[in-house]
Amino acid sequence: MTPAYPVVKPSHVKDVVKVEMSLFNSREEIEYYQIELFDLNWMNIPFSTTYRVMQVGYKEHKSFDVYIRKSDMDEAVYLCTTSKVKKTYESSTLVASKICSRLDGRPA
């Protein structure tokens, strides 16, 4: 998921800001990704987007916008996408990948 340090932009809604993100699916066995927003302590922060769980084909790019209330921006730190793993029928370990960008910018 890019960018690692997204730029927060104004949206068309008052007191709501927008973050433009892009996701690339490099995992052939994964088809769905979930978008999540967390504070510094990994507690969920409310946000809005078109699809919280979106379908992204293998080697496919998908752009999406995340809308966050201005009042939540002091708390919002990690914007993450997590792969949704499928049930299998063999005794195995599955790998769930999560990639997180930072909304509070690169530390000095």
Partner: protein
Amino acid sequence: MKYSVAILSLLAFPALANVDIVGNVEAKCVIQTTKAGVYGNPIASKLSTTPADGGVLPVIRYDVSIADSYTANITHPTAFSSSPSLTDTLAWTGSTSVTQTSVAGMSAYEAAKIVVGNTTIFDLTLAGSTWFSTASSAVYGSAKALPGGTYTAVVQATCIAK
């Protein structure tokens, strides 16, 4: 006539312009599964991904485009995401190690790793690819035989911008 030839020659002069191609490499982290893990069942009460136990270690590859921008946090399982009904406790163990690197200096990640509970944290200080493998084993309470069926557990591989 002389003037018109001069004007025409000016008009026929090709327009030249320099067109720049601008590229930008930004910080990016890509996670791929190089090898899916499989549990072996060396004894009736144990499931393990260790090759000596008949299992296969899952291998996860991290690609980072810019040095010192991300940490890799890999969490080994402490529960099955799906299994037959179990009536006793499970004793879980696990660990994550660097198995392959694209840059020689990345081998230092192994010595510098931090283990917090069941999560192993690697500071990705160099750009390039790193392969990690995660060992996981579960032993059923009081050496009971595990019920027959399919057991699945999830390794959480996270890449967090610093």
